[in-house]
């Protein structure tokens, strides 16, 4: 009796350990490749090479505070994110409301909209370089065809237009995503509230304002959260499309950090800047998550 008891409780202990054994590999990988790099990054951001050797200093962060290029890149990133987010949200919501009913060919429509957002971002960059090329690009070519003077439409060569272009490209790629998530959200709303609102005699706008929007709020917040995170760290398409240029016109924070690290090999400074970016994205995500939880 005591023998079998010991045996079975040993088995039980294995049972108790099992969840930890199953989670352990994932934790190890994430600790080694997410958390350790972060700590590593903190270290180098606080170190500087001097003739006397490596010293601990806040130098990188001080430099950051007075770096005008960094500030400009920050401003660009925020303006870019705000503009793209607004357009994507409004267009996505509009399309979702428009298509929230049984329509012939909706499957085909959905499938076609997948194309832009599934594309490798590098390919998106290529596509739009081809479209926007001032000489043989499809956009200017088509405009010329209908008799519009395109001489001043140099797109990626003009600071203003380049900034508009990178926003437009992001809107092109990601509006479908906003649309799909909001459509899924809309279709998860049961029919009864609408019928009740109809019987209560509310107008279409009132129904939208008081029934649709509140019920759609979780989906809206989630899609805005995901998009904001992505927009704040935008890199790939802009790297291909303009490389931050012309001049500094479309420089974003991720590009500036990349340049600091891999063109000037100033890793400490790059690390310091990346913490600012991390802090910003953190604050934004916390705000969204608070809003999301406040829905209850």
């Amino acid at each position: 009796m005591p023998r079998s008891r010991r045996f079975s409780s040993a088995l039980n202990r294995r049972e108790l350990l099992l969840p930890y054994l199953l989670v352990a590999p994932a934790l190890v990988v994430l600790l080694a490749l997410s958390i350790y790099p972060l700590l590593y990054s903190i270290t180098i951001s606080l170190q500087q090479e001097t003739p006397a050797g490596v010293v601990w200093t806040l130098g990188h962060f001080k430099r950051l505070a007075s770096d005008n290029f960094f500030r400009t890149a920050m401003v660009h990133t925020f303006v870019f994110a705000a503009a793209a987010l607004t357009c994507e949200f409004l267009l996505g919501l509009g399309l979702a409301l428009l298509l929230n009913q049984q329509i012939r060919g909706r499957g085909l429509f959905r499938a076609s909209l997948l194309v832009p957002m599934m594309l490798p971002t590098v390919v998106v960059g290529v596509v739009w370089r081809l479209m926007l090329n001032p000489n043989f690009g499809a956009i200017n070519g088509t405009l010329k065809q209908v008799g519009i003077n395109t001489e001043s439409l140099t797109w990626t060569a003009s600071p203003r237009l380049a900034f508009l272009a990178v926003i437009a490209v992001d809107v092109w790629q990601w509006t479908p995503f906003v649309f799909l998530v909001l459509l899924a959200g809309l279709q998860a709303i049961p029919q009864e509230p609408y019928e009740a609102a109809l019987i209560d005699g509310s107008s279409r706008w009132q129904t939208f304002r008081h029934v649709t929007l509140p019920l759609l709020k979780p989906a809206i917040l989630i899609v805005l959260l995901l998009r904001t995170m992505d927009l704040l760290r935008v890199f790939d398409q802009i790297f291909i499309l303009t490389e931050g240029g012309p001049g500094f016109a479309t420089e974003m924070i991720s590009l500036y950090i990349y340049r600091a690290a891999f063109r000037f090999f100033d890793f400490g400074y790059a690390a310091a800047m990346s913490f600012v970016l991390l802090a910003v994205t953190n604050v934004v995500s916390v705000v969204y998550i608070r809003l999301l939880q406040a829905k209850a």
């Binding site: 989670v23 590999p25 994932a26 590593y40 960059g125 799909l180 990349y258």
Partner: protein, 275 residues
Amino acid sequence: MKRTRIFRTGWLVLALVAALAPVYWMLTISLKTEVDQFAIPPKWFSFTPTLQHYTDAFVTRSFGQYLLTSAIVAVVSTFFALLIGTLAAYALTRFRLPWNLDHKLSLWILSTRMFPAIVTAVPLFLMMRDLRLLNTKLALIIVYTAFNLPFVVWMMRGFFAEVPRDLEEAALVDGDSRLGALVRVVLPLVSPGLAATAVFCLIVSWNEFLFALVLTQTDAAMTLPVGIAGRVTQYEIKWGVMSAAGVVAMMPILVFALAMQRYLVRGLSLGAVKG
């Protein structure tokens, strides 16, 4: 009634054209001779197609090699992310850990996915340099495995939660072990979800650019996106070659994406919205 339908159809067509025309344009460029490429007005439909840019890219130049690297890195990293992530997800849905640890761990895992890539790219470059892993496929496989892991955990948590607990308990009562029940009962039931998650990881790894750019610079280790980017930013651009490479880079993704449309919204929102 009729007017709203016309109005709606108009929007629909406009959105379709906007979404597809640029991609189609790239496709035409990849198939046009140089003369046709620069034609004004632009030739959308009437040109004689040629495959010359494709052979140029994938036979003469190294794009074939980049393609292979991309495929290897995507497949191997997806395999490991699925293996590690699925086990973790199972533990986090099926066991109650003390102090609400299961919930806290899940959130922590998700939060690592929210780091901007550039934040970890800098230290990862230095780490890989110290380990002498720069310009190796192994470096990318390791990084992509970690990158996809939070995603796998969250997706699979959702799928596991949909399998009734009864079934597993029945398997235990029938005499199976925990792992046996996982393999014989639970995994077969979540296999569509597992497949969808795998496809997502493949797409993400295939498309990833920044880490690949930072970690690989040689022809032998470069992925397709890095290869394309290298040509684009060169002084003289071979547009046909680039487009051909772009078309090839997007093809597998489109096939995959269409194959798993049903799970697309769910995957893109990290399981938050069930499409």
